[in-house]
Amino acid sequence: MNGKADPVAESLRGAARELVDAAITIQEAAAHATAALTDGALLRTLPRSPRAAHRAYRALLRATTNGRGLGYAFTGGGPATAVAKIGAMAGAESLAVHVLATSLRLRIAAVALDHPELTGDPMLTRLIGAAAADRDLEAVRALRALVKDRGAVRALSQLAPVFGEVLALRALLDENPLNDATAWLIATGRGFATADPITGMSNRAIAVRDTGEGAARRIDLPPEESARLSGRGSLLGFLANIGVIGTTGRILLQSVRGPDGVLRHVLQAPGMRAGRPDTDSPQDLLGAFSSAVLASSPYSRALAKAVADYGLPQGAELALVGHSAGGAAIMNLAQDAEFCARHTVTHAVSIGAPVDFKRPADPRTWVASVTNQHDIIPTLDGQGAGNCFDLHPDWYVVDYSDATHLFPTCHRIDRYLANLADDLPEAHDHIDERLAPYRGPVVRTQAYLLFDDPPDPEGFPFLSVPTHTVDGPAGPVELPIRCQDGGALTAYFAADPGAADALLKGTGFGPAVRVAGRALVAVHTAENRRTSSGGYHELHLGVVVPGPWPRRSLLLWPDLLRDAGRRRSGGFLVGSAVDTEAARAVAPLVWGDEPYLTPLGFRLTRRHAHVSVGDVLTLRGRLGPGLPVNDRDLVGYTRAAGTALRSCVRTHGPARLHPVPLLRLAVAPGSAHPLAGRLRDLGLDGARALLCLSATTRRTLVDAAVAVPSP
């Protein structure tokens, strides 16, 4: 571990700071000279004393273009900016830029004292030297060689301590005028890097694309996660909690009873969620970017919504702890004056986050920032290990380096936690001491899922239907059963027609639909992961029939594709199985039959299916090529107590139709289960599916079976 304690390094940083002051003085002089040169008042004196005015112009022009003096020094806005940009594109530089570049080189030299690996490595030395000497081609070649030799991740990690300085140097000295302002901000420490230092593309222009008022929904943590949460308030406990909930779009609010008996509250915010850069979560890449660049972001606004929902009393004391994008977001919350008027933000602890230019609204808020010098993320605001400015003397700043030197490992919350626990005892003790009012038992925990904007209710509009309660065999049941998240596989087989017709005999539904002289039989199996009746699996075996009143003109395949409301054909159920008591209890209401209760296994991917039903059957194999279609409704018929019943599963979601599946049904050898016997009778043991329909995610509505007049 090391920091900025080296007195030589401190001396160099002090010199770099003085050079920044000199550069600013020179730049101001250049601006004044440019202003005099472009002032219309001087132009107006030309007719009265043309000779004097002409000499004055010449003197000003010399002052602003003398390569041995101010250099090419047009600056200060208006037409001067345009001229300055043209000059920059032509490679003309000013004295202020040269002085600032020397300041950045001194910063790099200071960092190199703390990081000997920077100067001991010829490839890094070559890159830094080329960037500092404005040798673009050489810098690109050096970077390419470094990446080729070490890989992009290692190259970036090794360069991390001087990343901001190298980029700023290059931006100052290159011919791109768009990145000059950012280079100035990085080099002078006067503000957040407003643009990408390489291309000059505006950071703000990208960040403002992250829109949303922010929203937070209460969620329950899975028991295994709840069990891992810290039971007492402490720095390491809060960081461990952030590690437990992970980068999943969730945050945590906890209440702790302090040593003085006062109830206080702690918000814990993790970093960026992996995946697509712009999702409905404020913890996506765009959200991380906007949290760092802007003073308020969807992430911080969602945090405020979570705190409001949590229900803190007016003025309640609140500590904010955040990692990575979460660190930037909690600092945005801390600098929200309205939020700080409602709550007393006592602490803001930022871990591995770019927060150098955030300012808490309440001056009493104690801020701690912990950053690893090889972690790129905290340097995204332009200030890293080479920073020579005391940007916030009232903060507790821990900027350290460990031996790992590897990004992104050094950015992970568990790495920061381990560093604080094992390698930075002084920092850990100090922050924990400041968090003393929060070091007590946790008395309440609530997790929230965050959104950019308030989300639709789950399943809206498909599952937004009126519900009613009916008496079932095992008590009242709410119908329809609404499945928010499920998957299904329906496989069609060619079965023994005699056996199929025998099963239909006396039901009024025969004969079975024929395909090339064989009876068409459907095996429908579904995984209902989250429903209004809990999670369960189910399997139904149905002989496909044209409907209660067969029509000669009915074209079966088109009919099977119709919505349930317009479909005549369906599967006459000759056997069903479910794997929960609750599902079995409700089955007579919705299917009209009594399913078997047996364990069911269901694994379905885009390519493969593996379904197992206790000791009855397996249905497994490759699904083969699939055509994208909408999931199809399911219609089933049964006959119970002399009445024909029609049941429907209405579906919503994407599905795939597999015309040539390699899916095979196998009855468990020696199984005495009645369903196994039925499958054997139908000749389906070992049968290959004719075609199948798979849906890995879908929503369903299942209402009560309806009696239809007996055929």
């Binding site: 030589v8 001396s11 160099l12 010199a15 003085e18 050079l19 000199a22 003085t25 020179i26 101001e28 002089a29 004044h32 000279a33 202003a35 005099a36 002032d39 008042a41 001087l42 004196t45 004097a52 000499r55 004055a56 010449r58 003197a59 000003l60 010399r62 002052a63 003398n66 041995r68 003096g69 101010l70 250099g71 004295l95 040269h98 002085v99 020397t102 080189r105 001194l106 030299a109």
Partner: protein
């Protein structure tokens, strides 16, 4: 108006002269401490010379504006 510009440029000329002096002192201090990188002397010397030249340019411009 020209007089105002002239006065500002005259002050800037003084500031740059002071700047040159500060940079010179900075170089001497770092060398005395033995912490100055090898390349620094050449850079600072160039900055000092440029500051002196720039101060002279600004002073000359201020005088021209005052006439």
């Amino acid at each position: 108006m020209s007089a105002e510009h002239a006065e500002i440029l005259r002050l800037d000329a003084h500031a740059l002269t002071a700047c040159a002096e500060r940079l010179r002192e900075l170089q001497e201090r770092l060398e005395a401490e033995g912490v100055a990188p090898q390349w620094l002397r050449e850079s600072v010397n160039a900055h000092v010379a440029a500051c002196v030249e720039a101060a002279a340019d600004l002073k000359a411009a201020a005088e021209r504006l005052n006439r």
